[in-house]
């Protein structure tokens, strides 16, 4: 009998959460060394935001190639997930900044760029809700989902590196973590990615069912 990956995901995440508090030590050099553990949640949700936006782009390309509405639903679901995790990255980031920098929001370039990113994808949903006709909505939002990716890459990966930022940008590199941090960090990335896959599949199923229900 095979074990469903949802069960593995649940157990895995539980272990990661417990380990992040009990196994990992406080990090040296932080204002609040104990609170540096938010790393295990802040970085994975930011990664999932990027993954969501990229998944939205891939499905948008598939839609424009095949014109099958299923890909539009997938693209929209992925963009929603990206937006949700982007919001979570912003909130955990503000919390992190409040504890470690001493101010939750000081308009640091990293904060400005994620806010612009939220607006960029917020406009995607405004676009979707503004177009009634299904096929037209699908092709317009597919184009938007593809064209949003270059600015997304710029906002997430480039901008905070070319100007001064309080936010570190070279944490995810070999040798920048002691083994306790590295192990739990990688495990957390894997766990969150499984969680993303699970929620995404559920979301797509709901979208497909909704559409079927509307057309019956």
């Amino acid at each position: 009998m095979s074990v469903p990956y949802q069960l593995i995901c649940g157990v895995w995440m539980a272990v990661v959460i417990v380990a992040s508090f009990l196994f990992v030590g406080p990090a040296r050099g932080f204002r609040e060394p104990e609170a540096a553990r938010i790393l295990f949640y802040h970085v994975p949700v930011a990664w999932l935001a990027v993954l969501g936006f990229l998944t939205a782009m891939v499905n948008a390309i598939h839609y424009l190639r095949t014109r099958r509405i299923e890909f539009d639903l997938r693209s929209a679901s992925a963009a929603e997930m990206g937006f949700l995790f982007c919001l979570l990255a912003t909130l955990t980031g503000a919390l992190f900044a409040h504890v470690q920098w001493g101010m939750a929001w000081n308009w640091d370039p990293r904060e400005v760029s994620i806010l612009v990113l939220l607006l960029l994808y917020g406009a995607y949903f405004a676009l979707r809700s503004a177009v009634e006709e299904e096929e037209r909505r699908a092709s317009l939002s597919a184009a938007y989902a593809i064209l949003s990716v270059p600015p997304m890459i710029f906002l997430v990966f480039v901008l905070p590196r070319i100007v001064f930022s309080l936010h570190p940008s070279d944490t995810v590199k070999s040798g920048s973590m002691t083994p306790d941090y590295r192990v739990v960090f990688l495990a957390s990335l894997v766990g969150f990615t499984l969680l993303y896959t699970w929620i995404y599949q559920l979301r797509v199923r709901v979208e497909v069912l909704w559409r079927t229900a509307k057309h019956v």
Binding site: V24, G25, P26, A27, R28, G29, F30, R31, E32, P33, A36, L39, Q100, W101, G102, M103, N106, W107, D108, P109, V112, S113, V116, L147, P150, P151, F154, V158, L159, I162, V163, F164, L166, H167, P168, S169, D170, T171, S176, M177, T178, P179, D180, Y181, F185
Partner: protein, 135 residues
């Protein structure tokens, strides 16, 4: 198809490059020391902390230190709140405050986080925290 795709790519790259340069200035809230000296309101400055300049005024419970920018310009800062826990290890520091004619009166001192996460097996330095002052 190929020509139009190439054209599209050029347009996209062009817009991204334009957006990048136009956005770079607007995206950063940190001003130069000379701008801070003439600014009418509170501003944010960033600089390297000169560790030798750190001085604690125990009577007024005020922390004094100098920030140095890339050009070597020096800005004295005074901060009337408890010293941040990791201040003595800091290199890059952001100060939010206003210039009073000879120094920055800081409302907030933000310390850049380490990019390294050193947990188990690493010794922590003893933190000397000043107790919060009672008015």
């Amino acid at each position: 198809m190929k020509k139009s795709a190439l054209f599209g790519l050029v347009v996209v790259v062009g817009f991204v490059a334009f957006g990048a340069t136009a956005f770079k200035e607007a995206a950063t809230p940190y001003v130069s020391f000379s701008q801070a000296r003439t600014a009418p309101s509170a501003v944010q400055i960033k600089g390297t902390l000169d560790k030798r300049s750190i001085r604690l005024d125990s009577i007024n419970r005020t922390l004094h230190f100098d920030l140095v920018d890339e050009g070597g310009d020096r800005m004295p800062v005074s901060y009337a709140k408890p010293e941040p826990g990791n201040f003595r290890q800091a290199t890059e520091v952001v100060v939010v405050g206003r210039y009073d004619g000879h120094e920055m009166q800081a409302e907030n001192v933000l310390v850049k986080c380490p990019s390294k996460y050193q947990g188990r097996g690493v010794e922590h330095p003893p933190y000397v925290k000043i107790p919060p002052h009672t008015p």
